[in-house]
Symmetry: C2
Subunit: 188 residues, 2 copies
């Protein structure tokens, strides 16, 4: 197969869509964020990469707290809107009902199947983005999204983002068990 | 809806499955990695979080180079195998055919629809993981995986991981355009 060199502005597939919540100027603010993932096992930590221009960064830097909320497909328009409009110009505080958690400056979105609160443990300065690394200190869901006490992706109906084609995608079908299906390969 | 507090060992949904390649003791070594995402826009950077026990970490620390390869669904067993077996005990170098790129210590997997080479720009020490932040310096694909010169997820057929249920998932259907569908919400 002939390999072709393509643009360096490349991505991983697919990226998880989340809504990051913080308190800015005394009000909840929300940003659509797909550049997020786990970065430490115990204690559990998430890292979010946010362009330095974002209003959200002010809140995280000031309070050292943020939330990461996983929206279902029913929130696709609201999520996209949070990435289209800056909190510096538009008040997004009334977009979502919130519920109380352990941290005061990490607003949890009621309508999201999974909502996590994080306390910043490290901030990494990059050329255009700031990487905020936060320890997950509280996690909330609802019984209807769980199977055997664990979040069930088929019930949560999360969606993902791909770039640079800039499309949202549903989660497809379960294909195999991880840390398992490769045993078959090993024996074959 | 009654919210339930669940285990802090929580995740984002879904996580992109990749195979990270490096050179260890003079041989290509591969690790299945889902804790990876973009972290800077320009220059483009990826961050990978790797438990400190991994054989792969030795190679990245020594050479300051690694590859991130996006496998298609046809490589699900091979990918899982790379996460089941440590390079410290088992030679994984013959698992994949590789092709030459710009960096010598970041083996590119021929069978993957997308393969990127990264040069480490920052290393972040966390309690159990090391976060390697690399600038993407070269990216390769094939014409059959591109649409309008960009990687097309529907053609690449990537798969994702969810935890703690530990399942691989296919990419579902395209739902909407990003930075677009929320305009409708704004007007509604």
């Amino acid at each position: 197969m002939a390999k072709t060199k393509i643009d360096n502005n490349a991505f991983v597939y697919p990226m998880p869509m989340t809504i990051v919540g913080t308190m800015v100027d005394g009000k909840p603010n929300y940003l659509a964020v797909a550049w997020v993932n786990r970065v430490n096992y115990q204690p559990p930590m998430l890292a979010v990469a946010l362009g330095k221009v974002h209003h959200t960064n002010k809140g995280i830097s000031l309070h050292g707290e943020f939330s990461v909320n996983i929206p279902g497909q029913d929130l696709i328009k609201e999520t996209d809107y949070c990435g289209l409009v800056s909190g510096a110009k538009t008040d997004k505080s009334s977009l979502f009902a919130t519920f109380p958690g352990e941290l005061k400056n990490a607003p949890l979105i009621e309508a999201c199947p999974l909502a996590m609160q994080c306390r910043v443990v490290k901030t990494v300065d990059l050329p255009q983005d700031t990487l905020f690394i936060g320890e997950i200190v509280a996690v909330y869901s609802e019984e209807r999204f769980l199977t055997d006490g664990k979040p069930d992706p088929a019930k949560m109906r999360p969606f993902s983002l791909t770039m640079p084609d800039n499309r949202y995608w549903s989660l497809g079908e379960p294909l195999a068990k991880a840390w398992d299906v490769g045993q078959g390969f090993k024996r074959s």
